[in-house]
């Protein structure tokens, strides 16, 4: 792990698609006038027969992707997560999930990536929305290396999935050769006092918080829950049993996301003190991601503070 290097998840995603396109001629990328924001320009130029531009029409793009998949294509439909997961939510439910089509819905610039663009462009409800649609897998990679690995796995898998990534460059959590199993959490740090479960960009901040806690003699286990659905039940229950309390952190509403998923599991199987950190149920103020993470208390310092509060509840 290199704590200072950064990389772009969306660039890692599209570079991987470009590597895979010649190997898998059925691989198609569909987009919504978003080849710039997804960084699909090179794919569009090099693989025009595997690229489909639908214009600014998210509903159409998802349904057309399902139609393409029904003719044997392996489709990645890509666009800003805010539009792709709300405007075309019914298309995801019906044409992708219910029809069990081989469509991967890939939302870029998710979470608070668009910062000052305002509430129309925030994506803080996508995990909640898509998580309760049967057949849908939900993935939130935390860095470029993980995005690359997961993109490859999605391309080699048949069936629906949703993957969300951010817009800006993010700190590297993993080395380029790291491997992942979809559905299995990745333990990044061992600890016995509490467990911090994070996904997406929050993983790096969770590690920062664990460092800070360590300086105070508190040992936090850190789990990268890049697969929010299907949730790694085993890792969550083990963490609850062995560390006695759980803190979740996500770039998502505090309702219905990773925290919700973990809470649903724990309350029915092994209740322990828990804290769900994320974005409040209110109109998010404007700023860049870093400013907003700090403001809403989900940066390293904020998570550390949350952990100390949680530990007071631990018996």
């Amino acid at each position: 792990m290199n704590t200072s290097a950064k990389g772009s998840c969306r660039r890692a995603f599209t570079d991987t698609l470009c590597e895979l396109a010649p190997i898998y001629p059925q691989l198609n990328a569909v987009t919504t006038d978003a080849r710039g924001s997804v960084t699909l320009e090179r794919f569009a130029q090099e693989f025009p027969q595997q690229f489909v531009e639908m214009g600014i029409a998210e509903q159409d793009a998802v349904s057309v992707s399902a139609g393409l998949a029904l003719t044997g294509k392996n489709v990645f439909v890509c666009g800003p997560a805010c539009f792709l997961t709300t405007r075309s939510l019914e298309q995801v439910k019906v044409d992708v999930a219910y029809n069990h089509t081989n469509v991967k819905v890939v939302g870029v610039s998710g979470g608070l990536s668009y910062g000052p663009l305002g509430a129309t462009h925030t994506t803080v409800t996508d995990v909640a929305q898509i998580r309760c649609i049967f057949n849908m897998m939900v993935l939130l990679p935390c860095d470029a290396a993980q995005t690359k690995a997961l993109t490859r796995q999605l391309a080699e898998m048949t069936g629906p999935a949703y993957m969300r990534m951010g817009r800006g460059d993010v700190y590297d959590v993993y080395t380029p050769d790291a491997t992942f199993t979809i559905g299995k959490a990745n333990q990044l740090r061992e600890g016995t006092d509490l467990t911090i479960i994070a996904c997406g960009e929050m993983v790096w901040y969770a590690l920062q918080a664990a460092e800070k806690l360590s300086a105070q003699g508190i040992h936090a286990r850190v789990l990268d829950m890049f697969t929010v659905k299907p949730l790694d039940r085993e890792a969550v229950l083990k963490a609850a049993q062995e560390t006695g309390c759980i803190l979740t952190v996500e770039e998502h509403s505090i309702y219905g996301g990773l925290g919700g998923a973990v809470a649903e599991l724990l309350i029915q199987n092994h209740p322990v003190p828990m804290k769900i950190m994320g974005l409040p149920d209110e109109d998010i103020i404007l700023g860049n991601s870093q400013e907003l993470f700090t403001y809403y208390g989900i940066d390293g310092d904020g998570i550390c503070k949350g952990a100390l509060e949680l530990l007071k509840q631990k018996r």
């Binding site: 029409a57 349904s63 057309v64 992707s65 003719t71 294509k73 019906v94 219910y98 029809n99 069990h100």
Partner: protein
Amino acid sequence: MDNNIIHSLEITACRRRIDIVNMIYHAKTGHIGGSLSSVDLLTALYYHVMDLEKIKAKSPDRDRFVLSKGHSVEGFYAILADCGFFPKEELSTYAQFHTRLACHPTSKVPGVEVCTGSLGHGLPVAVGMALGMQRDGSGGHVYVVMGDGEQAEGSVWEAAMAGPTYHLDNLTAIVDRNHLQISGNTENVMCLEPLADRYRAFGWNVVEICGNDFSQMIPALTTQVPGKPTAIISDTIKGKGVSFMENLAAWHHKVPTEEQYHQAIDELNAHLQQLTK
């Protein structure tokens, strides 16, 4: 058109109408009006236009059918069963506990390519299918039947833009223009006219026909204009074939009483007798 073919299709469609009325009466649910208006179109496609052997073999270059107005499912199931996609006895399970014959088509049913039921999805899915087949050099053709009330869905028009953009001449979109939706006349609910001009303006080859007349349907369904998708505005009668159901919005989603059921079956049997005389 060969009159014998037309005559034979008329007999088949009348038999499927009897199936529709039976299914809905026994299940005590269904969308009878739209099933009766569109069953002629489906009959033309399944008994004359499409190559069923390729469809049954799931050949990649098969023709594909999408029932975008998924609520008109009874006629679709009756046709699939009659064409041997699944046993005809199964029609009696329509809408019953644990059936696979749901009130909107699902791909669990042999012969159904795509699950539908929410309006405005069929045309975009059909565009995707046609584009995939075009790029694969497949010889198959995609047919999608939409309702006229369905035309109010914005996603229909997103796909209406995409079809001509990609020159999908292997795509035929049919609007079952029966002029009625659940709340009444389409023009009073949300004005669709001039519907043909609207599709023309979007770049489609447009054909206007009577969708209860096989001599008009067959040439339209077999039309292909290079580089352009075809839209067929298919004028039909909602409730067609049962006199007291015809052109009444109330029969969109109504189940006949026992008396009405017998009256409907008697009328259809009388018509069948006349056709087979």
